[in-house]
């Protein structure tokens, strides 16, 4: 028997699991239209490789991974791509983003599937397969799996933890998956073990799912994988919390499980890896719990892109008086009102809300500093302080209080006697801090470019000045080395002008009219006559001019 440890805090919300866990999961029929967001993972949006009008087969690539932190998106059924356009996303902003919209043809024809023997494959090759197969962490964070398993194996990983805790109330999709497909999950775990080569492999399941524990124990017999039932306490399913419970190791603040030699992955991720590697089927469907205010709460194997309203209809429809949905659990889930949002890789549960099941919170009262939130915080933070700083927008201080270690589990909200929406404040502060970080990175880039530009302008100026100085120097040297041109040694401006005038005169003297050579005597006589006439005219003109001036002086007198 394994010794278990405790994490700090935790709460016991009402479970509500039995409503949906009793019925076996059902394969949901292919809907008429599927909406596939190109970003269903953490990182950069995948790049579409299809266009409107293209015919696609089931499992065909729709968008390839763009950059390192990305994962591919595939067609969940065969049909026609209607458009690659903006459509509402299951995102807290409610803003639209690029989605591929597919009209199903009803034939559900598979593209060619290429299963492979992972033991014969290279690790890097397998990771590339995970990326191109669109495998991401299905526990909720949707971190691309190929990056999680990009580690130097054997030396680094002592423990591989498979997360089957499923601690959020209402959700039973992992429970049903482990009960019904334990053998497949174990085959997927083998792939992950091959990638990480861990010393030990542990599967953590909360003890409120005894059938899942039994099924997994049976499937794991003689494989070296240990299935551990952990006490039911929200949020044991948090990565850091489950690692603490199973191994006693605490992931350092701001660090990753890898820093303590642990890798943690969801059981549904292991199942998806099995489908991809052993069956050649990329990530195109997942188990989704439909529960809450519906007639028959149950789990569906739903194609990605299925509108949540279709699933609710399959579960017998919403009961009268229902309003809105929660995607995920009630503690961390996303409250939406639009039923045409698609199921994405992170959608593990759709809860139909009703005022009876989820009565609106009473209005918030002032914080009384009771620190019940600090007692409940599984990350060992001081939510009451964080709340203070977030409220006053004191972002430097809130960072010092390790805001980014907050996993937004909502335990503090749950226990707060004043009903303060603490997590909302923390999300606000986190996104502000991220924006500030982004801005300061942009400022650093702008500063660098501005300073380079200034340096370049300065350098150009200097180069020009240097060139000019060199030219002048060369000209001066040329003049000094050629004194025959009559330049005086002092080189003053006056002297230079004098010298230039002299040069001009010399040049003028050197050029004589050529038509004066070899003239006949008659021509010479003519020239003499003309010259005499000119001289006379000049004399006359001079005489007249002097006469005029005399007259002018007389008139004035």
């Amino acid at each position: 028997m394994k010794t278990l440890h405790h994490f700090h805090g935790g709460v016991h919300p009402e479970q509500h699991k039995l409503e949906s866990s009793a019925l076996p999961s059902v394969c949901a029929p292919v809907p008429q239209r599927l909406i596939l967001p190109l970003q269903q993972h953490l990182g950069t949006r995948a790049k579409a490789v299809v266009r409107a009008g293209d015919k696609v087969l089931k499992g065909q690539l729709l968008a390839r991974a763009a950059g390192a932190m990305s994962a591919a998106i595939h067609a969940p059924t065969s049909g026609t791509v209607l458009s690659v356009d903006f459509h509402a996303l299951p995102h807290p902003s409610g803003l639209p983003d690029l989605c591929a919209i597919i009209e199903a043809d009803g034939e559900d024809l598979w593209a060619e599937r290429a299963p492979c023997d992972f033991r014969a494959a290279d690790r890097a090759e397998l990771r590339a397969k995970l990326r191109d197969g669109g495998i991401v962490g299905l526990g909720g964070a949707t971190f691309p799996a190929h990056l999680k398993f990009d580690c130097k194996p054997a030396r680094e990983i002592r423990t591989l933890v498979l997360n089957g805790a499923e601690c959020e109330p209402w959700i039973t999709s992992d429970d049903r998956l482990m009960r019904e497909r334990a053998a497949e999950i174990v085959r997927g775990i083998e792939i992950l073990r091959y990638l990480a080569s861990p010393g030990e492999t542990l599967v953590g399941i909360e003890d409120n799912k005894p059938q899942a524990v039994t099924a997994m124990r049976q499937a794991c017999a003689n494989t070296g994988i240990e299935v551990v039932a952990v006490p039911t306490l929200y949020p044991t399913g948090g990565e850091k919390q489950l690692i603490k419970v199973l191994t006693g190791k605490e992931v350092p603040s701001g660090g990753y499980p890898l820093h303590v030699g642990v890798l943690c992955s969801n059981v549904a991720t292991a199942y998806a890896a099995h489908r991809l590697i052993n069956c050649g089927e990329p990530m195109i469907s997942r188990l989704v719990t439909v529960t809450g205010s519906v007639r028959t709460p149950q789990n569906f194997e739903a194609l990605l892109g299925t509108p949540i309203e279709e699933l609710v209809k399959l579960a017998g429809g919403a009961l009268p008086g229902s309003a809105g949905y929660i995607l995920g659990g009630p503690m961390m889930g996303l409250h939406v009102s639009n039923g045409w949002l698609p199921v994405v890789k992170s959608t593990n549960c759709v809860i139909v809300k009703s005022p009876q099941l989820f009565p609106p919170l009473p209005p918030a009262l002032p914080c009384i500093r009771c620190t019940r939130c600090a007692d409940a915080c599984p990350a060992d933070l001081q939510p009451q302080e964080l709340y203070w700083f977030a409220k006053s927008r004191n972002f430097d201080k809130i960072k010092n209080y390790h805001l980014f270690d907050c996993i937004e589990c909502g335990a503090c909200n749950y226990v707060c006697p004043s009903h303060i929406p603490l997590v909302q404040y923390f999300r606000f502060a986190k996104s502000e801090l991220r924006a500030l970080e982004h801005e300061s990175a942009a400022a650093a880039l702008a500063r660098e470019r501005y300073e380079y530009r200034q340096m370049r302008i300065e350098r150009d100026k200097q180069e020009k000045a240097e060139k000019l100085a060199q030219k002048e120097k060369a000209a001066l040297a040329a003049r000094q080395s050629a004194p025959a041109t009559g330049v005086s040694q002092d080189g003053s401006a006056q002297a230079r002008i004098q010298a230039a005038l002299e040069r001009a005169r010399e040049q003028a003297a050197a050029v004589k009219p050529k038509n004066m050579d070899s003239l006949t005597s008659q021509q010479q006589a003519e020239i003499a006559e003309i010259e005499a006439r000119r001289a006379k005219a000049r004399e006359l003109a001079q005489g007249q001019a002097s006469g005029k001036t005399e007259q002018a002086t007389d008139e004035h007198g």
């Binding site: 970003q39 949006r45 996303l89 995102h91 807290p92 902003s93 803003l95 983003d97 209005p363 918030a364 009262l365 002032p366 927008r393 430097d396 929406p421 909302q424 404040y425 999300r427 606000f428 986190k430 996104s431 502000e432 924006a435 500030l436 801005e439 942009a442 400022a443 650093a444 880039l445 702008a446 500063r447 470019r449 501005y450 380079y452 530009r453």
Partner: protein
């Protein structure tokens, strides 16, 4: 008496020499306060503060010649951080300085551009690509939104386009809820 005087003057001389030596040897290059202020400024180099760039404005603040509320691109958060750094009171935007605007980037209407390079010369961060008598275009990722390229354009083909909000750039809003007094 004399001994005391001698001892005191010897100490004074020794300390003076040490201070003089360290003043020369340990001199700090540049203005560290101006650098700290410059690190807070958004580096748009837009000149809306009345100085020819962020660094001159930082130097002016450090010298006590300029107010801290003259940088619209920095926003109120920028003023708050400057006030924190300098230990002065927060000062809202007002007077001759305009308030902050939504972040925008320059956009060149490429059909109208005549390729005069005037905007390229005006851009403080080299965010406009193009050459003489060739079409110009703005490198959106590098554009700081300073608007310095808008005025020089002889054909008015540059406009400022506000950046749209996407799920990637969206921010959580400040939680607003009413405090209700207990009856």
């Amino acid at each position: 008496m004399l001994t005391a005087l001698l001892v005191m003057s010897a100490i004074a001389l020794a300390l003076g020499a040490a201070l003089g030596y360290s003043a020369i040897k340990l001199k700090v290059e540049g203005n560290p306060l101006a650098d700290k202020i410059d690190a807070i400024l958004p580096q748009t180099q837009c000149g809306q503060c009345g100085y020819p760039g962020c660094k001159p404005y930082a130097a002016a603040i450090a010298a006590g010649e300029a107010d801290i509320n003259r940088c619209p691109p920095g926003g109120e958060e920028g003023i708050r951080r400057l006030a924190d750094l300098l230990g002065v009171e927060f000062k809202p935007f007002g007077g001759e300085t305009a308030g902050p605007k939504a972040r925008a980037v320059a956009f060149i209407d490429e059909n109208a551009c005549i390729g005069c390079t005037l905007c390229i010369q005006a851009c403080p961060v080299d965010a406009i690509a193009g050459a003489s008598k060739q079409m110009h275009t703005v490198i959106t990722q590098e554009c700081t939104g300073c608007e310095l390229c808008v005025a020089p354009c002889p054909v008015n083909c540059i406009s400022m386009v506000p950046l749209p909000q996407t799920p990637q750039t969206w921010k959580w809003q400040y939680p607003v809820y009413a405090l209700v007094p207990v009856k």
